[in-house]
Symmetry: C2
Subunit: 495 residues, 2 copies
């Protein structure tokens, strides 16, 4: 197998980070045919020496190129130009908008590395699969088919299956939302709910304001729907009212998107006074709020707080949740509660989007709700999550770098950690962590713009306490090794 002869010229005065220059030049040589399939690349250590670069820059570049299909690694033998690079080129024919593409690529790459067998993966957003009431669902599906026959498999009304809408009405009334059946729209999970709201209220180029950091899905939707997205900074109570007011005054957004309970990614719970301030501010500016309460039922500490919609006297809050987020994410049943003026357009957009959410799935969830299976399962999940939270906090205390900061979450799946400002970044720690078979979500993915370089989101909820401990130990070790090997100064110059 030939050794590749690389021809790399780095511009040290360029604004482009050196490792990105390295990526671009290797890619260009593969695309241009100068490097052929099967050629072996220099070991990262020797290339780093040759180019006078830190080794982590080379490791990082190789890793991205592997994720993009340009290179392949063979354990103990080295790194090679991939045999199937032709097809990976074909999949990337258009030069897309840079922000969009880079983010999407980063996520895909990250997820791919995190899924390697043997990796303790804290990067995902899903609840643990042992929380799913699989048998109960199976039973419910069978009963629905026995009861309704072909009707369960025909088109459902776009607004949703009537009895499920009524059950949702009862459910949200119990948390203080004044609601009629007609105000409820069943959706394909909370993600579709959010997307329908954006499509109903925003035109191309309109602005949406959210917290920074925020849910990754809203950033994806804004990009896909060509909306401008602006993140107002948060404090420990959630989105900052002064910053939000400033945004409302200057950006004239069409929508505010927030997650008041156990926000993804930070885990923050917005206290009652901030909830009131937020609703009042939005009402004064007549700008609708979409509140995403998908983590609401993951509460394991403290009192239950009313959703924004329960505090809303002017009908400007749209409320979304998904029973299935906490229990059966893949079954894709969520809902929107919105007042009349929004409801009609939402129903029309929903019908255009996919006619209706599968009726069989709606009917099965309705049966589970009616029988109290979901409530019972939630109770069990909460106890288990609390146990895992205890383990995560203890492991963070013991293994994460001195000077890291986090807040103990009162609900949700995530621990949001800020690494010490002077040390390695979360992205660097991620790459080093992959080498030690541990993964987490890099904080800056959750920012609409800059920020989050030192932050990481850890989904501790999906692992048993012993696994959490071992995973946190690996992260701490990866970080310590980075500091040891490169020190702070050179590294900061690279990434």
């Amino acid at each position: 197998m030939p050794n590749a002869s690389l021809n790399i010229k780095l511009q040290r005065e360029s604004e482009e980070p050196l490792y990105r220059q390295l990526i671009q030049q290797i890619r260009a040589q593969i695309d241009g045919g100068d490097l052929t399939a099967g050629a072996r690349l220099p070991a990262s250590r020797s290339l780093a020496r040759q180019l006078n670069l830190s080794r982590i820059s080379v490791v990082n570049a190789y890793s991205e190129l592997r994720a993009a299909g340009y290179l392949s690694a063979q354990a103990g033998r080295g790194t090679f130009v991939a045999r199937d690079r032709a097809s990976s080129q074909a999949a990337q024919p258009q030069p897309p908008a840079p922000g969009t593409r880079q983010r999407a690529t980063s996520i895909r790459q990250m997820m791919r590395l995190a899924r390697r067998p043997g990796v303790i993966d804290f990067s995902g957003g899903a609840p643990p699969s042992e929380f799913f009431p699989v048998r109960y669902l199976q039973e419910a599906i069978n009963q629905v088919i026995e009861r309704d026959g072909a009707e369960a498999l025909a088109y459902e009304a776009p607004e949703g299956y009537g009895p499920l809408r009524a059950a949702v009405r009862d459910y949200v009334r119990a948390i203080g939302i004044d609601c009629r059946v007609e105000d409820v729209l069943i959706t394909g999970g909370a993600q579709q709910a959010i997307d329908l709201v954006l499509q109903s209220l925003l035109r191309d180029g309109d602005t949406l304001v959210t917290a920074d950091p925020t849910y990754l899905g809203i950033i994806d939707i804004a990009e896909a729907r060509r909306a401008q997205i602006h993140g107002a900074p948060i404090d420990e109570d959630g989105i900052r009212i002064d910053a939000l007011e400033n945004a409302l005054n200057h950006l004239r957004p069409r929508l505010i998107y927030v997650m008041p309970s156990y926000q993804n990614p930070t885990g923050h719970l917005m206290p009652l006074h901030r909830r009131r301030q937020l609703v009042r501010l939005a009402a004064r500016h007549r700008i609708p709020i979409l509140e995403d309460e998908v983590y609401r039922e993951f509460r394991y500490d403290g009192d239950e707080l009313p959703p924004l919609k329960a505090l809303d006297e002017s009908g400007i809050v749209i409320h979304t949740n998904a029973f299935t987020k906490v229990l059966l994410p893949g079954i894709r049943i969520g809902y929107l509660v919105a007042d009349g003026p929004y409801q009609e357009r939402l129903a029309r957009v929903k019908q255009a989007a996919d006619i209706s959410t599968p009726g069989l799935n709606q009917r099965a969830i309705h049966l589970l709700l009616e029988r109290g299976v979901l409530a019972k399962q939630l109770e069990r999940n909460r106890l288990e999550l609390r146990r895992r939270r205890v383990a995560a906090l203890a492991a963070a205390q013991r293994y994460l770098p001195a000077g890291s900061r986090w807040t103990a979450p009162g609900g949700g799946l995530f621990l949001w950690v800020e690494l010490p400002a002077a040390g390695p970044s979360a992205a660097e720690t991620f790459i080093a962590g992959i080498g030690r078979d541990v993964a987490f979500a890099i904080g800056r993915l959750f920012y609409t713009g800059e920020g989050g370089e030192q932050a990481m989101r850890l989904n501790f909820g999906i692992h048993q306490p012993a696994v959490i401990e071992e995973g946190f130990r690996r992260i701490g070790a990866a970080w310590a090794a980075l500091v040891e090997e490169y020190g702070d100064v050179e590294r900061r110059a690279v990434l």
Copy 2:
């Protein structure tokens, strides 16, 4: 109960049809409180006399107002201002764009009337529920849950369940489409597939060209997505190439949408030479075609023709179909086949739209496909549809007005009938038909602009031969009664 005192002033020189003026004035008096809940309206015959209007105008106006919740009818007692009009007002707070709203209202109204018990309903678009392989699906779901457990209920990849994508690849290869697994995207039915394509390729205000008449769903999507839609006229081979070329030259559309096989609503099959012309024309103009082949498997006469995508050498055709259209509409599984340049953006828009299509549904359909259950069921359905088509053609010949025109379809569910130009319109016949417990889809709903006044779409596929015969008999009788009662001249002046 008080008799309402109506204060109606019709402007005969206005462009607004008289029956619409009547609707608006009654509505205004209800909204304004001049007519109160429970008040009885004059009988249609006496109001018609009083206003010097044809009775059908009054019947039509009352009927629309009933459908909109303003009036209620009590058999044998008369027509009253509805008690729940307050809530029907709340549901319609915003004055929407007229075209959009009128069409949506018409459809909802029509569907509501058609669903009255006892009505022989030819208006729907769905296949008959006795075609659904309910037990096989139940079995497949149980086997998937036994086999995959919680994994079947976790998030699926946005592009779809791998083995189903591979099965789709094999399926479309068998009809001549050169396709890789990566070119397949699983969607929530063909409706979501179409919507994703529009969202990927069109910005607000961009233009889409389709046939006129066309699938109602594409008109809905274009309205919901703020796209301009233009319908090029058809002949019996489908969309006219000269008209399409003219539209491509003058409107610079971003997309062409067609249904080459057994088009909804006309049932036309586009012959091979027209398919070739269409693909060549689009390639020359570099405008992508979305071909919707959801009725392809409803063929019961003639040879199978290649889909446009099989004739496509430049990668500009995007192909969509849904196994579930023909078999299990409510399970919502469709797919898109598109070349690389489109695929990446489609996958991103899909992920933003709803993260993924329910994995359990995908896995169950995959199992049914693999076992040949879908193929076998399709064969059975075809034979039965052919039998119903024979019945529909015989009944049309026997009962529909002399001078009506239709083409015997070689596939699909629909008979598209053009009533005699000089006689009552399809909308009038619809209203009269409802009085005789029969319903169909009014042709002009399927037009992007004007047209189709005399056309009706009859879904004969959902009924047994004896029911088809009785239904067609009622339509013929309704039409004849209209002619009898009002003659042609007055009626034409009204509607």
